[in-house]
C-alpha cells in the first residue's frame, strides 16, 4: 500500500484545470446577482421600494421576500431564519433584496436604486447583555457529575474567573457561490459550494414549494470551507434557486470577498465563567463552568456547537466533580456558524487558561500539572462516556522526550536572564477530541460505486471534497478492497441524485463515514466477483479456496500461487458478460453511539483522538513581535490511510489556529460593523508565519475502535495545538510581568498593551 499517494486531484489543481463553481464559462442567458445588504444591525423595515431599480435596461427582476413561492424559512433545526426578512432586520449585512441582471455591473448599479426606509431598534452584540436579557435560542443545557458544590467547598484551593475567546473569519479562498440552472419538469439544478447537499435540497424545496426530487444539488469540490459552508452556503444556494425559479434562466450568485466577510457568520465567541477546586499537588477536584456563546442573529448551528464545547470543557483531564452549563445567546451579528473545531477550541482554551492559573498559583511545572490530571483508560467523562484506549500519559512523555523538555526549560530561563528586551516562553497542551457528530442521526453515509467494463471505477460518496482529501482516502479504501490502482478510480462530484440524503461533510467524520460506506460498496462487488474469479483461476489450473483470493494492483490471484494472475479488467468484462451487477450502493452508520440531553448522559463519541503539543516562542518587548521557535507535536493517527494527507492536516490546522491566536484580529465598531472585512485589514497567516522548527510525530495507536482500516479522524483535533502559541506568548510575558493580562488574539498590540 502506498502510504502517501498524491492528492487524487493534484494534477488538476496544479494545472489550473480543476473545476470550481462559477470559475467557468458563463451560460447563455445567465443572470448575475447583487444584493442590497442591510446597513444596520437591528431595525424594522418601513419601506423597501424597488420600483426605480427595475427600470434599468438589463435588470430582469428585483427579488424580495414577497416573491418567495413557498415558506420564507431557511432555518433547519431551529426554524428562525428567513431568506429575506419581512419586517425585522437582524444583522448588518443581512440580504434584503436581490437584483438579477444581465451583467454584474448593471446589477450593482441597480442595487443603489433600491430605496430602503427603516426604523432602528436597539441592537445587542455582547454575550453579557444577551444573557442578561435571556436572549437564548433554547433553554440552558447541562452536564453534571459528582457533587460540585461540596467538592468546591472542601477543596484546598479554589480559583474563579471569566475567560473569553474571540471570533474568527473562515477566509476560505473560494468565496460563497452557486449557479442555478432550470431543468425539465420544474427541476432546478444547483451547482452549489456547500458542505451539505441534503440541507440545501431540503431548504430550497421548502422555499420554492417543490418536491425534493426536483432539486438537484451538485458540488464538484470546494475551495476551502472549514465549516463556513456547512450552513453558510445554504442562503446563497437558496438565493440562486429562487432567482432561477422566478426567471427560468440560469442564475449565478458569486460573492465578492468583502460581501462574504461582511455578511457571513464566523467562529462563535465564547465566554467561560468558572470556578475550580484543586489540591496542593494540582489535582483538580471540581469544576463549575458556564459556557456562553455568541450565536448571532439566528440559531444556525449554535446549539450543536455549544454541545461540542460542553463535551470538551474537560479537554484531556479527568475531573471527578463537574458541572457544565451552556447557553447560546442571540445577538445582532451575522449568524455565527461552524468553524473547524466546532466549539471545542473555545472550550479547551478556557480550560487551559484555568490550568495555567492553577500552575501559577501552585508554582507547578506545566507538564507535570497536565500529567497529574490527564485522563487514563477507564476514567469516566462528566457525561459518563468511558475513556478507553487512552494513551495520553505516554503521549505527554513522548512529547517531553522529543522536545528535551527539562533542558529546553533551562535554556529558556537562561535566555530570559541574559536578555533585557527579548523573552522566551513555552507551553504544552494535550488534547482529547471526541469523534462523531454529536447529533447522532447524522452519523451515516452512503457511497455509489460503479466498475466499468474496462476495469476503471467511479465512486460517489456523501462526502464533499474541500481539500481534506476525503476523495483520495475513499479511493484508497476502494483500491484496497478491489485492488484497482488509484489512477483508475475517479472520485466524482457530490450529487444528490447519485447519493441522496447526505449528512454534511463535517465534524472530521468525512473519511470515517464515507470510507466505510465506500468499503461496504466495494466489498459487495468483491463478494459478487469471487465465484467468478475462482472459476477463472481454476481455468488456469489454480484450484483455490475462495478465502485465499487476493485483489491487488489490478490483478486477481490466489495467495497460494501469486504468480498466476488474472487481470482485474478481464474479470470485470467476464462478470459483465455473466450478468453480475457491477454497481453497488454502500452504506454505513456509526455503531454504539447515543446521547440523552434530558439527563446529560451517554456516549456521543465513537472514539477519541489523543495528542499533545509544545511550543516555544520568543517575544520582543519593545516591538511586541514574536517568533515561534520550536513546535513539537505528538499525534495519534491510528493506522493512517495516507501519511502525507494527515501531516498536511496537522500542519494546516496548527497554522489556522495560530492565526486565530495571534494575528486574526477582527474588531467591530459600536454599530455592529466588522471593521476588518477584507484581506488588507484581516490578516491570516502567510508562509512567513511558519514556526522556525516544527517536529511532528504521528503515532499509530493500534486502536480497536478506530475507524476505517484502523485510521482515525484528522481534520479538527490538531487545530487545538495552535493554542500553545498563545499560552507560550503569555508565558514569556509573565516572565517579566507575572500579572499581565494578555488579550486574545496575541497581536503585537495585545502584547505591548499587556506589558505596559
Amino acid at each position: 500500500m502506498n502510504k502517501s499517494y498524491p492528492h487524487i486531484n493534484g494534477k488538476l489543481h496544479l494545472t489550473g484545470s480543476s473545476r470550481f463553481i462559477a470559475d467557468e464559462i458563463p451560460l447563455p442567458e445567465m443572470l448575475y446577482t447583487k444584493f442590497l445588504f442591510s446597513p444596520v444591525a437591528h431595525a424594522n423595515i418601513m419601506e423597501l421600494d424597488t420600483s426605480e431599480s427595475i427600470t434599468i435596461p438589463g435588470v430582469e427582476k428585483v427579488v424580495t421576500a414577497s416573491d418567495i413561492p413557498g415558506i420564507n424559512q431557511i432555518g433547519l433545526v431551529i426554524q428562525d431564519e428567513p431568506l429575506f426578512p419581512e419586517k425585522e432586520i437582524m444583522y448588518m449585512g443581512q440580504p434584503l433584496a436581490m437584483v438579477l441582471a444581465t451583467s454584474e455591473k448593471i446589477a450593482e448599479a441597480a442595487v443603489k436604486l433600491i430605496h430602503l426606509k427603516y426604523e432602528e431598534l436597539p441592537p445587542i452584540f455582547e454575550i453579557d447583555e444577551a444573557d442578561e436579557k435571556g436572549e437564548w435560542y433554547i433553554p440552558e443545557k447541562k452536564i453534571e457529575c459528582g457533587d460540585v458544590q461540596k467538592a468546591l467547598s472542601e477543596a484546598d484551593f479554589t480559583l474563579q474567573g471569566i475567560t473569553e475567546t474571540p471570533t474568527q473569519e473562515h477566509f476560505y479562498l473560494e468565496t460563497q457561490r452557486c449557479r442555478a440552472i432550470p431543468g425539465e419538469d420544474r427541476q432546478i439544478i444547483l451547482y452549489t459550494a456547500t458542505q451539505s447537499t441534503m440541507e440545501v435540497q431540503e431548504v430550497v424545496s421548502r422555499l420554492l414549494n417543490l418536491p425534493a426530487n426536483r432539486i438537484i444539488v451538485e458540488v464538484p469540490r470546494l475551495g476551502g470551507a472549514f465549516g463556513g459552508k456547512e450552513r453558510g452556503a445554504t442562503i446563497w444556494a437558496a438565493m440562486a434557486a429562487l432567482g432561477c425559479f422566478l426567471t427560468h434562466k440560469p442564475v449565478q450568485v458569486l460573492l465578492e470577498r468583502e460581501e462574504d466577510m461582511r455578511s457571513t457568520g464566523k467562529r462563535h465567541p465564547f465566554q467561560g465563567r468558572w470556578k475550580v477546586g484543586f489540591d496542593a499537588k494540582g489535582k483538580i477536584e471540581a469544576l463549575d463552568i458556564e459556557l456562553l456563546s455568541n450565536g448571532g442573529a439566528y440559531a444556525d448551528l449554535s446549539i450543536a456547537i455549544l454541545e461540542r464545547a460542553m463535551f470538551h470543557a474537560d479537554n484531556a483531564y479527568f475531573i471527578p466533580n463537574v458541572r457544565i452549563r451552556g447557553r447560546a445567546c442571540r445577538t445582532n451579528l451575522p449568524p455565527n456558524t461552524a468553524f473547524r473545531g466546532f466549539g471545542a477550541p473555545q472550550a479547551i482554551f478556557i480550560l487551559e487558561s484555568i490550568l495555567d492559573e492553577i500552575a501559577k498559583k501552585l508554582e507547578l511545572d506545566p507538564i507535570k500539572l497536565r500529567q497529574i490530571n490527564a485522563y487514563r483508560s477507564g476514567d469516566i467523562t462528566p457525561y459518563e462516556q468511558k475513556v478507553i484506549e487512552c494513551n495520553l500519559p505516554d503521549i505527554l512523555e513522548r512529547l517531553a522526550f522529543n522536545s528535551n523538555y527539562d533542558q529546553l526549560k533551562e535554556e529558556i530561563e537562561k535566555y530570559n536572564d541574559e536578555h533585557r528586551n527579548s523573552k522566551q516562553g513555552l507551553s504544552i497542551i494535550p488534547v482529547k477530541f471526541g469523534i462523531s457528530f454529536t447529533t447522532t442521526h447524522l452519523n451515516q453515509a452512503s457511497a455509489l460505486l460503479w466498475i466499468y467494463i474496462d476495469g476503471t471505477a467511479s465512486l460517489t460518496t456523501s462526502a464533499v471534497e474541500m481539500g481534506q482529501e476525503v476523495s483520495t482516502k475513499c479511493a484508497t479504501v476502494v483500491s484496497k478492497v478491489l485492488g484497482i490502482p488509484l489512477e483508475n478510480i475517479r472520485v466524482e462530484s457530490s450529487n444528490s441524485q447519485r447519493v441522496g440524503n447526505a449528512s454534511p461533510t463535517a465534524a472530521s467524520t468525512g473519511t470515517d463515514l464515507n470510507g466505510n460506506a465506500s468499503r461496504n460498496a466495494a466489498e459487495k462487488i468483491r463478494v459478487r466477483l469471487l465465484p467468478l474469479a475462482q472459476s477463472m483461476l481454476k481455468n488456469q489450473g489454480i484450484d483455490g479456496n475462495m478465502e485465499k483470493i487476493c485483489f491487488k494492483d489490478g490483478t486477481v490471484f490466489s495467495s497460494d500461487s501469486p504468480e498466476t494472475k488474472i487481470e482485474f479488467k478481464d474479470l470485470i468484462r467476464q462478470a459483465y458478460l455473466s450478468r453480475i451487477p457491477l454497481g453497488a450502493n454502500g452504506y454505513y452508520s456509526t455503531p454504539g453511539i447515543s446521547f440523552d440531553w434530558n439527563i446529560g448522559r451517554g456516549s456521543p463519541f465513537q472514539y477519541f483522538v489523543f495528542g499533545a503539543a509544545l511550543a516555544q516562542v520568543q517575544i520582543d518587548l519593545l516591538t511586541g513581535e514574536h517568533q515561534v521557535l520550536k513546535v513539537f507535536i505528538v499525534h495519534e493517527t491510528g493506522i493512517s490511510l495516507n501519511e502525507a494527507i494527515d501531516l498536511g492536516q496537522i500542519e494546516g490546522a496548527f497554522i489556522q489556529c495560530y492565526g486565530w491566536c495571534t494575528c486574526e484580529d477582527l474588531p467591530r465598531d459600536t454599530t455592529g460593523h466588522y471593521l476588518a472585512i477584507n484581506p488588507s485589514t484581516y490578516k491570516i497567516p502567510t508562509i512567513r508565519d511558519l514556526p522556525s522548527k516544527i517536529q511532528i510525530e504521528m503515532i499509530p495507536s493500534g486502536s480497536k475502535y478506530a475507524s476505517i482500516f484502523g485510521s482515525k479522524a484528522i481534520g479538527e483535533p490538531p487545530f487545538i495545538y495552535g493554542l500553545t502559541v498563545w499560552f507560550a506568548i503569555q508565558n514569556a510575558i509573565h516572565s517579566v510581568k507575572p500579572d499581565a493580562i494578555l488579550k486574545f488574539p496575541a497581536t503585537r498590540e495585545s502584547i505591548l498593551l499587556a506589558l505596559n
Partner: protein, 500 residues
C-alpha cells in the same frame, strides 16, 4: 459618474468608450485584443479568454490567487515577474508576454514545479495552487537556486487558508536544489524572448458604444512626456495611474469610477534610477522591484532597499511605484517617513513646466497634496546621506509580511567629531500626514552620544504626538509604538546593539 437615479444610469449606458487595441503574447501565442478601458488582466482572462485557471479570491492584491507572470524587457534584459492580475490593467500587457497557469504543464506532462508540488503534497483544496505555481515559476525563472529568504519573499504574497505552507516550502526547497533556469523556462517561452526585444507596434484606441457599462471611458498610455502633454490638453478630468496598486483597489472594491485614466508606466523619461549632483534620482514609474534590483540603491541607499523589501508582496512590488506611494499620500505610506528624514524632494511636471518641492512640504492633509491640477510627480530626488549616517526604519504591523503599518517610522542621525550634527525622526500612522518630530531634533542636535538618555527622549517624543484609534491599532498602542521605536533606535545608536 455616480448614478443616483435611474435616468443618469440609463444615460451612462449610452456613453462612448475607447478600448485599447493591444498586441501581446499569451502563453506563447501572439494575440490582438480589444480591452475595455481599465479592464484588469484577470477580467480579461476570465471574460475574454475564458481561462479560469487563474483564480479570484479578493480582487485587491492581497491573496495571490490571481498570480500570473509577465515576461518583458527591462534595462536590456528579459525579466519574468509575477503580478496580481486582479490589479494589473490588461492594457499594460501590450508588447509583453503573459504566462498563466494554462501555459505551464499539462495533465500528461506536468511542469517540474507542478510535479514537485504534487510529490510533496503541497496542496489541499487547490484554490491557491495555480497562484503558488506561478509565483514559483517567476522565482525560479529569475534566480537559480534561491535560498530560503528568497523563497519566502517570492511566496509571502500567496495566501493558502488550508495552510499547506510547510509542504509548499518543502517543494520550493527541492525545486531550488534540483532545477535550473533551463528546466523551468519552457522552450516556447524562450522563443518569445527574442521577439520581445524587437517588438515595435503601437497600441491603438478604438471607439465603442451602445449599452456598454464600464467605470472608465478612456485609458491612455502615453510613451513620452510630450504625448502626455497633448493628452492633458484635451482631457480635463483625468486621473493618473502608475502601477495601479492603490488606484485599482479603489475601482475594484470601493467601486469608484475613474472616467479618464492616464497610465504613466510607459513614459520612457520616468523609468530610470540615476546619480546626479543633487543625489539619487528615481523616476516616477520605477517600481519597487526595480529599486531592489538597482545596484545604486543597494550600495548607496541601503535603508531604502531594506524598507522596500518589507513593502507589500513580491507581486505588488513588481508593478507598484515609489512615486505612487507618495502621490497616494496615505498617512501610512511606508516610504514617506524615510524619504522625509533623507530630505528627499520631488520634481513635479505639468504642461506649464517643472517645479521642485521638498517632500516634507508636499502633504497638506489627509490624502491631500500640493500637486496642482494635471500635475504629476516626475521624479524623486534623494540626497546621498553621509557614509556613517545612522539610518533606520521600522514598520509595526499585525502580521509579519504583506501588511500595512499601524505606525511606521524612520530616523537619521549624523555625527561629527563625537557630537550629533543632525537628527531627524519621522512617523507615519500617527497623524493625517507623515510627521517629523521637532523635539527629537531639538533634544539631540549638538549632544555627544554619551549624554543621550533614550528613555527620557522616547517619553518626550511620544508626548509630542496624538494618534487616533482605527482598525490597525488603538491610540494607546500607537503611543507605545512611538515611544518604543524611539527607544529602540536610540539604544541601538548609543550602544550599537538592540536586544541585549
Amino acid at each position: 459618474m455616480e448614478n443616483h437615479n435611474a435616468n443618469d444610469l440609463i444615460k451612462s449606458l449610452q456613453r462612448i468608450y475607447y478600448f485599447n487595441k493591444i498586441t501581446f503574447w499569451l502563453n506563447g501565442e501572439l494575440i490582438t485584443a480589444e480591452i475595455p478601458p481599465a479592464q484588469t488582466t484577470l477580467e480579461f482572462l476570465h471574460n475574454n479568454q475564458h481561462l479560469y485557471g487563474t483564480k479570484c479570491s479578493c480582487n485587491e492584491g492581497d491573496c495571490g490567487a490571481c498570480t500570473v507572470v509577465i515576461a518583458q524587457v527591462k534595462e536590456g534584459n528579459i525579466v519574468y515577474e509575477a503580478i496580481n492580475s486582479c490589479l494589473y490593467t490588461a492594457a499594460k500587457l501590450h508588447g509583453k508576454h503573459l504566462i498563466t497557469i494554462e501555459g505551464l504543464g499539462t495533465l500528461e506532462q506536468l511542469h517540474p514545479i507542478q510535479q514537485v508540488m504534487l510529490e510533496n503534497h503541497s496542496l489541499q483544496c487547490g484554490y491557491c495552487s495555480p497562484g503558488f505555481v506561478m509565483s514559483l515559476f517567476a522565482l525560479l525563472a529569475n534566480i537559480s537556486h534561491p535560498d530560503e529568504e528568497e523563497i519566502l519573499s517570492a511566496l509571502e504574497g500567496n495566501l493558502c487558508r488550508c495552510s499547506s505552507y510547510q509542504s509548499i516550502l518543502r517543494a520550493a526547497k527541492e525545486l531550488s536544489e534540483n532545477f535550473t533556469f533551463n528546466d523551468i523556462v519552457p522552450a516556447w517561452c524562450r522563443d518569445i524572448e527574442k521577439q520581445l526585444f524587437s517588438f515595435k507596434d503601437a497600441s491603438k484606441l478604438i471607439e465603442k458604444s451602445g449599452n456598454l457599462f464600464y467605470p472608465c471611458t478612456h485609458y491612455f498610455i502615453p510613451q513620452k512626456l510630450s504625448e502626455l502633454t497633448d493628452i492633458l490638453a484635451n482631457t480635463p478630468e483625468s486621473v493618473f495611474i502608475a502601477g495601479g496598486t492603490d488606484l485599482m483597489v479603489r475601482m475594484n472594491v470601493q467601486k469608484e469610477e475613474m472616467p479618464v485614466l492616464i497610465d504613466l508606466s510607459e513614459l520612457q523619461e520616468l523609468k530610470q534610477i540615476t546619480y546626479t549632483s543633487r543625489g539619487i534620482v528615481i523616476g516616477a514609474v520605477v517600481t519597487y522591484s526595480d529599486i531592489l534590483h538597482s545596484g545604486i540603491i543597494k550600495t548607496d541607499l541601503l535603508s531604502l532597499y531594506e524598507l522596500v523589501e518589507k513593502i507589500a508582496s513580491k507581486q505588488i512590488r513588481n508593478f507598484a511605484t515609489l512615486a505612487g506611494n507618495i502621490a497616494n499620500a496615505s498617512p501610512i505610506g511606508d516610504t514617506l517617513p524615510l524619504l522625509s528624514v533623507l530630505d528627499a524632494s520631488l520634481t513635479l511636471f505639468s504642461s506649464t513646466g517643472i517645479r521642485e518641492l521638498p517632500l516634507r512640504d508636499f502633504f497638506l492633509d489627509y490624502r491631500k497634496t500640493r500637486l496642482n491640477y494635471q500635475e504629476l510627480i516626475k521624479e524623486i530626488v534623494i540626497p546621498l546621506p553621509t557614509q556613517d549616517a545612522f539610518i533606520r526604519t521600522y514598520k509595526a504591523t499585525k502580521r509579519k509580511a504583506v501588511d500595512i503599518s499601524a505606525v511606521v517610522s524612520a530616523v537619521k542621525i549624523e555625527t561629527e567629531s563625537g557630537k550629533i550634527k543632525e537628527a531627524k525622526l519621522a512617523f507615519g500612522g500617527v497623524a493625517t500626514i507623515p510627521k517629523l518630530s521637532h523635539k527629537f531634533s531639538e533634544l539631540l542636535i549638538g549632544k555627544p552620544s554619551e549624554e543621550i538618555n533614550p528613555i527620557e527622549i522616547a517619553e518626550i517624543v511620544s508626548a509630542e504626538f496624538n494618534p487616533i484609534s482605527d482598525v490597525r491599532g488603538s491610540k494607546e498602542y500607537r503611543q507605545i509604538l512611538i515611544r518604543n521605536q524611539v527607544l529602540n533606535y536610540l539604544q541601538e545608536y548609543v550602544q550599537g546593539d538592540t536586544n541585549e
